[in-house]
Symmetry: C2
């Protein structure tokens, strides 16, 4: 077993020992929202957005893009009714300036909003996460494009 493999299992053992009431959490997200963001190792959505286990769906891939299937399941099957689309600065996938990134978030949100499987009742907010400060910076044009 590699060092990483055994470290992950040891950390999990510690986590499980104090699992407690989390065993009773229901499947649907308690705070009824979803976050779509990048897989980047520097981002911890639970920490930067204040999530406890059970609160919200978190969807992540390279770049934080193209996740219509997951978002639609999140809403239709499990009741989320607000979505955050969050790209980030210094992204290894995009290599864009912040200005370009804002345009990229806006385009992604507009594409999600326009998709035929995306329900009309869900507002979509566009943000950039700044890896140098931990701050979420709103992209107003994206949030506007994601309005119901």
């Amino acid at each position: 077993m590699t060092k990483v493999h055994s470290e992950v299992l040891a950390a999990n053992e510690t986590y499980a020992k104090t699992f407690g009431d989390k065993a009773k959490l229901p499947m649907p997200p308690g705070r009824r929202f979803a976050i779509l963001t990048c897989m980047d190792a520097r981002l911890d959505p639970a920490k930067f957005a204040g999530l406890s286990e059970g609160d919200a769906h978190v969807i992540r891939n390279a770049g934080g893009r193209d996740a219509i299937r997951s978002l639609v399941i999140s809403h239709k099957l499990l009741g989320t009714n607000e979505w955050f689309v969050i790209h980030h600065s210094d992204c290894g996938i995009d290599w864009l300036t912040i200005k370009d990134q804002a345009a990229s978030v806006t385009a992604d949100v507009a594409r999600i909003r326009a998709h035929k499987l995306v329900p009309a009742g869900v507002p979509i907010y566009g943000y950039i996460y700044d890896v140098k400060s931990g701050r979420l910076i709103e992209v107003p044009a994206a949030t506007k494009a994601g309005k119901v």
Copy 2:
């Protein structure tokens, strides 16, 4: 602004205030591994696997499936060289028994291993996360199927 929207921004403000040295984290994951798992709200991979910001890529979608693009980028561009594929009990996407789930993890890991873009040097481990205990349960057949 909705309640959730303002709560997320307030939580982020608190997080950013104590961001500190995380501003210096490099882009490549420090512990050089990736986790592919479900978007389910009850799962917090950073907590259940002991990750700090900067440690590992985390890829999540409905069911924790089909993420070859992200995994390949994770390895080729950003140097991860071990991958965990983690499904979970009581999954809203699959509705399978644990026995079926083990078969599903094994099939997914075998499919990733066999993909022409997946490099030979990366071991892939298969696990089921038990939402009632917080424990990672190994699927030995999957880990075997993901061997280098």
